[in-house]
Structures are given as C-alpha cells and as structure tokens.
C-alpha cells in the first residue's frame, strides 16, 4: 500500500492544494492529475471538504469578554505584586516584628558575647590586652612598604611591633635559630617567657625566621605557617 504510487499521490493532494509541496513533487502531482480523472475528482472533494472548515462561522466574543479578562488580569497583577515581595523583604519584616515583640532579650547576652568574641578574634585584638591604634602605626614612616601593601603581613607587623615595645623580642632573638625552619618547638629550645605568654608563642616561629634571614622581606616565606598556626 505504501509503495503504491497512486496512494502516495493521494496523500500529497492536500499539500498540493495548500501549496506546501516542493517544486519537484508539485510537478509530479500535476502530471498525475492530468492523466487521471479519478484523481482530479478526489482533489475536488478534498478541496471542498477543506473549504467547509474555512467557511465555518467564526465564534463571536461575548460582550463582557474584555471586561472579564481585565478583571482577571488585575487579579493576576495583584498576585504578582505580592509574589514580587522578595524573600529578603519578608525576612526584614519578620525581623522587625521579632525585635518589636521583645522575644530577643533572652538571646541577647549569648549572641552579643559571641559577636564580640568573633569580632575580637578576627581583628587580632584577642591576642593583646593593650591595643595600639592601627591608624597611628599605619601612618608611621617606619613601617616597611611591603607590609603596608600586603594586609596579611600587616596584621603580623603589629604584633611584631608590640613585641619590640615590650622588650620580649630580644629574648626571642637570643634563642639560636633552628637548623630547619619547620622544626617543632619544645620547652627546651624555647625561651620561658615565650612559653608563659601564649600570645607570643603563636608568633615565635615567624620571629625566629625573621631573625634567621636578617631581613623583613622573609616574612613572606613564613606566611603559610603563620596562617596555619593562627
């Protein structure tokens, strides 16, 4: 059936009428139509059937159709407006409600303490009881340019300055440099004051290396160790 040329022609007739055939197929169908009155009649029937649909009355709109749609559209717009209230805005709203409701008071002390501890830790102030004004140091001409350029070292520089001010540095400096920079510190090879003061102990390896290399740039080389220890 599929291979029947006439069947193939018939299945192409509607597309032929619709002008949807390729030029080659159109010629093939046209040739077949010229030689077959039956096919020509079939074309007539198909064309007539198609025209019944195109001549069907178009559905007319009811009078209230646009008004109904407008009403629905406004409803959708209102819904969208509500949806567009972002999650953040809703959270803010709830946050304000929570604050106003006073439900936060029991949680205030632990939360505030935690925040202070975290802030202190990250600003490096936990390690000293007598902070030095950062701006004061930053403006000093004595700070090496490399330290200013590199904020990671800047933090360590403050500690170094403090060590010098409190005269612990000399004691550290007198300690012989280890043969290997990654050597573990023990009670035997570490100055007592350093052991007594854990705030300095954390810097001790860096300071030892600074001393060993005799120049400040060497701080760069111990950056990783410093971060691991902190």
């Amino acid at each position: 059936m599929k291979n029947n040329p006439e069947t193939k022609i018939i299945s192409d007739l509607v597309a032929y009428l619709d002008g949807e055939l390729s030029e080659r197929d159109r010629r093939r169908v046209a040739t077949a139509l010229r030689g077959s009155p039956a096919l020509l009649q079939e074309v007539g029937h198909l064309e007539q059937t198609g025209s019944y649909i195109s001549k069907l009355d178009r559905a007319t709109l009811s009078e209230n159709f646009p008004a109904t749609f407008l009403r629905r559209l406004k409803q959708v717009q209102q819904e969208e407006q509500i949806e567009q209230e972002s999650l953040l805005a809703r959270l803010q709203h709830k946050w304000v409600e929570w604050l106003a409701g006073g439900h936060w008071t029991p949680a205030f002390v632990p939360v505030a303490s935690l925040l202070i501890i975290l802030a202190s830790f990250y600003s490096g102030k936990l390690l000293t009881s007598t902070p030095i004004g950062g701006s004061q140091l930053a403006q000093s001409d004595q700070i090496p340019a490399q330290v200013v350029e590199n904020p990671v070292f800047f933090r360590d520089y403050w500690r170094t300055v403090r060590l010098e001010r409190w005269a612990h540095f000399d004691e550290i400096a007198r300690t012989p440099a280890p043969a290997h920079p990654n050597i573990h510190l023990t009670r035997e090879n570490t100055p007592p004051k350093v052991i007594e003061d854990p705030n300095f102990f954390i810097q001790y390896q860096i300071l030892r290396r600074m001393e060993q290399f005799q120049h400040f740039e060497s701080v760069q080389n111990v950056q990783n160790i410093n971060e691991e220890q902190v």
Binding site: S11, E20, H45, I53, L73
Partner: protein, 205 residues
C-alpha cells in the same frame, strides 16, 4: 519537503508588540489581546466545541502570556507561540474528561467507495434560504466530525484552514515535523470527508 523562505521574525508586528510588552508597555499587551483573542476564542471553540468555555480558555491563554512575558523569546512568529499555548490549554481541557462524549474515538472509515454521494453536500457558498439551512446543517456536521478526529489532526486542520498557517508554523505549534503536519492535515481532511459521507448515508437511510 521544500524549505520555504521564512520572513525574518523581527518583521512580525506582533513580535514587536510582545517585545514592547516585555519592556513593560501594557498598551502593547492590550493590542495583542484585542487583535488575537478572537482568533484564540475561535480556535478553542472549534477545538472543544463549547463556545462558552472557549472564552475562558482564551483568557487563560492571555493570562499565561502575561505571566510568561519574561520567558518569551522571538524564535518564531508570535502567533505560533500564542497558539502553542492555546493548543496545550485545549488539550488539558480535553484531558479533563468533560468532553469525552464528543471525543470518543471513532474508527473513521478510510477510502470508502461512493464518492458520488458527496455531491449531495451543500456548497459553502450557498445563498438561497434552503441552501443556507443546508449549509448550516453541514457546518454542524463538520463540527461534530471535528470533535471525533484525533487532537493533533484537529489542531492541524483548524490552524491550516482557519488561521491560514503554513505547515511549518503548525509544526512549531504542535511540536512535530513539517512532514508530520502534511500527514496530519491530509488525514484530517480525509476523515472529515469520510465522516460527511457517512452522515449523508445515514440521512438517506
């Protein structure tokens, strides 16, 4: 099938309207609604056979256009996108089952003999009172047969004959190949022709 030359999508004024609407121009959306909603209602009415529901479907379609304005990409003519939404809404509606009575599958006869009887069908161009009545009757028959042919055939023949869409555009709407549309339109026409002939047979009996 020969690849026909397609006009640039940007030349479609409805695409331009939709793009303006995407930028927040509500007037462009109103223009689209005014221009195209009658066609969507007509399509849904013919597809479902229920005019009142057709209006609701058309409204649903335009509400979806409104909601999906951000997703629209001018890949084809705007009407293609619109009727794709309409087609899906109509299919969902049919699947609800409320239209089962109309869409009960019927094995329409293929290639029946008796072409002579088709000559008894009134022509669509009838102008006398009796002819008009016969034409109305024929239109009702067409409607009834339309409900009985498969969904995709119905969509293909309706978009082709009512909206004058090309096979390529119909393929975009249904989501199939142009070749498949060619087959759908042919089978739909054949089914309609055979259905009309059967009705004429019943009438004669």
């Amino acid at each position: 099938m020969e690849q026909k030359e397609r006009r640039p999508i940007q030349d479609d004024p409805d695409v331009q309207r939709m793009l303006r609407f995407q930028q927040g121009d509500m007037e462009a959306f109103q223009e689209l609604f005014q221009k195209l909603s009658p066609a969507v209602v007509n399509f849904a009415a013919k597809f479902l056979g229920v005019r009142a529901r057709a209006e609701e479907i058309a409204q649903d379609v335009f509400i979806q256009v409104y909601r999906w304005r951000g997703r629209y990409e001018p890949k084809a003519k705007f009407s293609t996108w619109l009727f794709k939404i309409a087609h899906n809404h109509c299919l969902n509606e049919v699947r609800k089952g409320e239209y089962k009575v109309f869409l009960e599958p019927v094995d329409l006869p293929a290639n029946k003999e008796g072409h002579e009887r088709e000559r008894n069908l009134p022509t669509p161009e009838a102008d006398g009172a009796e002819d008009l009545l016969a034409a109305k009757e024929a239109a009702d028959k067409i409607q009834r047969i339309l409900y009985r042919i498969p969904d995709n055939q119905r969509t293909a023949i309706l978009l082709s004959r009512l909206e004058g869409m090309s096979y390529q555009e119909i393929a975009d709407v249904i989501g199939c190949t142009e070749k498949a549309v060619k087959s759908l339109v042919f089978r739909a026409t054949q089914n309609l022709k055979d259905g009309l002939r059967d009705m004429a047979d019943d009438h004669e009996k």
